[in-house]
Symmetry: C2
Subunit: 251 residues, 2 copies
């Protein structure tokens, strides 16, 4: 029966690769789990830690390297290795690579971003604190002041969306929003110079903000949905212009 090939049995359980790497990750995980380590704390020196785990230093470093690439650890030569401090964040590099590898389209990413941020906006309308509302408002004010400076406008645009995500009160959601947005943001920086008018985007930002402040989840969701749909269109237009006149990017 050769038609077995139709169903690929990709069950890969005996992946011995990373046996020690796994061990390192598991060990650090245990340390964190038992509250022996908190954000900002320093890990034992590599030479000592490798002894504790009974593995060589290069092997230990392979594991630490993986954790660093996950964004969980951070090393400073001469100082030590630390648990990353600051707001929780996932590195977007893995998603970027995966997208590149499988040819994810930007349309799909925008769609995903819309789902995440629409949800975040709805939750923010229910939970946003006064301080979070103030942060959003400030970013909108800064957008007003940056109408003539695309790059600067984009900075405050991203900051506003970050504030909304944070105001959702859901760190898991906020983390995913950040991860997806980071990829689109980097791309957008290259094309935003071709945008002509930010007034529409600004208006929609204000509409989102007003809805959140008024504690109207549905309106906040609808405004955010509208905003991202239009942002996607603007992005697609800029991309098209970039294709049309590859060299003529100054006007």
């Amino acid at each position: 029966m050769t038609n077995i090939t139709a169903r690929k049995l990709k069950i890969v359980q005996p992946v011995r690769s990373g046996q020690t790497t796994e061990q390192v990750v598991a060990r650090v995980y245990e340390l964190i789990k038992h509250q022996d380590l908190k954000p900002g704390d320093r890990l034992p020196p590599e030479r000592e830690l490798s002894k504790q785990l009974g593995i060589s230093r290069p092997s230990l470093r392979a594991g630490l390297s993986a954790l660093i690439s996950m964004g969980v650890l951070q090393s400073r030569q001469g100082a030590g290795t630390f648990i990353v401090d600051g707001p929780p964040a996932l590195d977007s590099e893995p998603l970027r690579l995966l997208a590149q590898l499988h040819g994810f389209s930007f349309e799909h990413m925008f769609e995903t971003r819309a789902i995440l941020e629409v949800g975040a906006a709805g939750l923010a309308a229910e939970r946003a604190t006064g301080e979070q509302l103030a942060t959003m408002s400030e970013q909108i004010a800064d957008m007003f002041a940056s109408l003539k400076d695309p790059q600067q406008f984009l900075v405050h645009d991203v900051a506003f969306h970050r504030a909304v995500a944070a105001a959702s009160g859901n760190p898991t959601l906020a983390t995913l929003v950040e991860m997806v947005s980071a990829i689109l943001y980097e791309r957008r920086r290259e094309t935003i110079e071709r945008a002509h008018d930010f007034n529409e985007a600004l208006d929609l930002h204000r509409r989102v903000y007003r809805a959140i402040r008024a504690r109207q989840p549905e309106e906040a969701r609808e405004a955010m949905r509208e905003h991202i749909v239009r942002a996607q269109r603007a992005f697609a237009l800029e991309e098209k212009q970039a294709t049309d006149n590859t060299e003529n990017g100054d006007d």
Copy 2:
């Protein structure tokens, strides 16, 4: 008074400006970007690749280790290192660690999962192919057959949700769904034995399926929302029982 003169005479080959790990990741990224590497392809042997990049093998391996932990590469001793084949997937380990580190609650994860899967259900109702519908239906049938076997029921439960995510036609979204669900799934496996009745869950699954098949996005979204809310309640209940009688897990 330049006290640095004595020490620095031996510098012949200044290290590339950045970290070597970054360099490796960037290099592989370039290979993928230029389509020199596709899923399933094999990378050059480590000894050769380290020469090409002008770095030592341990340093190269640190970078590869990072890529493996990202889920982009996979190594098989004696065979080689390959670009991961199969459906796109992000390792959920980073999110798990981040959640543990910052104390993300399961409530928040369920909330995030709800946002993602409700969105996916809506899209699936618009785009699901016949084959994808068939897969969902099969999983529901298997759930019927597994009403007396919690672990088996859970397997088909997860498979159903995976099918819905795939039917959204959005690989980015499907990847995030997988990542979040994987964490909740592992936890659920430990507690599901305490569940008493799967009929309600099964009914809601069928309702989701019927809505998708009938091409009714709003109904699909509502059904999925309802389902996940109830699943969260069931999960919370099982967790509570686990706390009440810690040892009495056999009945």
